[in-house]
């Protein structure tokens, strides 16, 4: 199995200065099952004991799943200005 980070590193990104994903970590702190972690194909969301959730927005593949991944309304997602440029698609 090829590791996720290795796979993501093959892609071409222009990373925005600011994150295009906002999280209400107050909600994440009370969330046990963390469906966003299961659903995101890019490993953008990492559970964190102290902060509830860490967002690695630079990994985002812009699939759009973040718009429906969180049933508790903790994620606010918009598409980035830069972001990924697929070369094969």
């Amino acid at each position: 199995m090829v590791d996720l980070i290795k796979r993501l590193s093959l892609n071409k990104y222009t990373v925005d200065k600011e994150s295009h994903i906002q999280v209400n970590t107050q909600i994440c702190k009370t969330c046990k099952d963390k469906p966003c972690v299961k659903v995101c194909p890019a490993g953008t969301y990492e559970p964190d004991e102290k902060d509830g959730l860490i967002v690695h927005y630079e990994r985002c593949l812009e699939c759009g799943a973040a718009l429906v991944a969180c049933p508790y309304g903790a994620l606010k997602f918009r598409f980035p200005y830069g972001g990924i440029s697929y070369r094969y698609g």
Partner: protein, 399 residues
């Protein structure tokens, strides 16, 4: 109030480009807003296009299509190293081609530019509001106003969401994850694979000229409660089907999975919705297609735009009427019964398992031979399946 064009198309993919070409030919002024640096840069597609709708729109003699699909392979994985497969081959068919959309959409956009369509790339629409007989789009390059917006912004349907016309639901969406592998096969193959980790969905392999497109599509609601993470599934899948070679790109995208009876709102005042944004995707068990529906709905939208303009933009419902008469809605409607059936667990999990068990025993010789009927009845009973239900499902599937 002044408008920037007769029509603003949001999204420069298949639907948007088709709409823009058609509307331009109808004599309208058109601007396409594309958030990527080039058309296709934000696109992920499994990899096969049925080309009938494209052929009617533009000359495809120089289109960057990958391989003509000559062989269809179906595989059902039933666990414990068991697998059922069948294939269908026709060397003479020319109806579908594998395709890589980053390359393809750039070619298609160039075709549109040659016909006078204006594209504004790297332009992200961040909000839309209705204003004085039109829609105002807020973008990173300033505001754009039009009396008619053709929404072609893909499955996440931003414009419909901004205008309060759409709520995305996990139950109506699939997640597609894909890898492009640097391995070449010497024929055009489409492989459909069922039976992976008990997830609702399936896998695919398409052979391109120099690469393979492999991936999985899985219902988002089935992932939310799953044991396996979306970030791992494509690699596990690749190992299961035994495909090797360097990974060239890792990608993911949502896929609309509404079906005819659940389609979202397709028009509103000053707005018509096309392609993935409109939820146009067909899965009838034999074909899975969205690209030809995107192209055709774009064409219909471009033609409807002219009629809508002629009536002073008063009413957009003509678009839906025209769609109903096109193959887009006719085929969506015909596929509905099998489409809804294919969402049931018993189809991709229980039935394949029984089929595998039965075949396993029928191919086995160990001195305890039984008839096919005996085998079938026993396995159906073991799996707690209902024979009446199975017959009903079959009837539903054949349409």
């Amino acid at each position: 109030m002044s408008f920037d064009a007769d029509v603003v198309v949001v999204g420069g993919g298949l639907a948007g480009i088709s709409a823009a070409i058609t509307a331009t030919r109808e004599g309208l002024s058109v601007i396409v807003l594309e958030r990527g640096d080039y058309s296709g840069s934000k696109n992920v597609a499994g990899g096969r296009m049925y080309i009938h709708a494209l052929k009617d729109l533009v000359d495809i003699s120089d289109a960057p299509l990958e391989r003509k699909v000559e062989r269809e392979i179906y595989e059902v994985y039933c666990g414990n190293g068991r697998k059922i497969s069948f294939s269908y081959e026709d060397k003479n068919r020319v109806d579908s081609y594998t395709v890589l959309r980053a390359k393809f959409d750039q070619w298609f956009a160039k075709k549109a530019e040659e016909e006078g369509v204006l594209f504004s790339y790297s332009t992200l629409v961040s909000n839309a509001r209705r204003e004085k007989g039109g829609i105002t789009l807020e973008t990173n390059r300033g505001e754009v106003r039009a009396p008619l917006v053709i929404e072609a912004d893909g499955v996440t349907a931003g414009i419909s969401r901004y205008l309060g016309l759409r709520n995305l639901k996990p139950s109506m969406l699939m997640l597609g994850v894909k890898e492009v592998i640097g391995t070449a096969w010497d024929e055009g193959v489409a492989r459909t694979i069922i039976g992976f980790e008990g997830l609702k969905g399936g896998g695919f392999v398409y052979s391109n000229r120099d690469t393979l497109s492999i991936g999985l599509t899985v219902k988002v609601d089935s992932l939310q409660g799953s044991e396996v993470k979306a970030q791992d599934i494509v690699e596990k899948f690749r190992e299961m089907i035994g495909i090797e070679g360097p990974i060239l790109e890792y990608s993911a995208h949502l896929i609309p999975y509404y079906g005819y009876a659940n389609l979202p709102q397709l028009n509103a005042e000053n707005l018509i919705v096309t392609g993935d944004a409109a939820g146009f995707l067909i899965n009838d068990g034999f074909t899975i297609r969205g690209m030809d529906l995107a192209i055709e709905s774009g064409k219909v939208a471009g033609k409807a735009a002219k009629l809508i303009k002629d009536e002073n933009y008063a009413d957009t419902s003509i678009y839906v009427k025209m769609l109903e008469e096109s193959f887009v809605m006719r085929d969506m409607k015909k596929a509905w019964k099998s489409f809804s059936l294919l969402g049931e667990k018993r189809i991709f999990s229980d039935y394949p398992k029984v089929l595998c068990e039965v075949l396993g025993d029928m191919f086995l010789v160990n001195g305890e031979r039984r008839t096919l009927r005996e085998e079938l009845m026993e396995k159906i009973k073991e799996e707690n399946l209902n024979l009446t239900q199975m017959v009903l499902d079959l009837v539903r599937f054949i349409g």
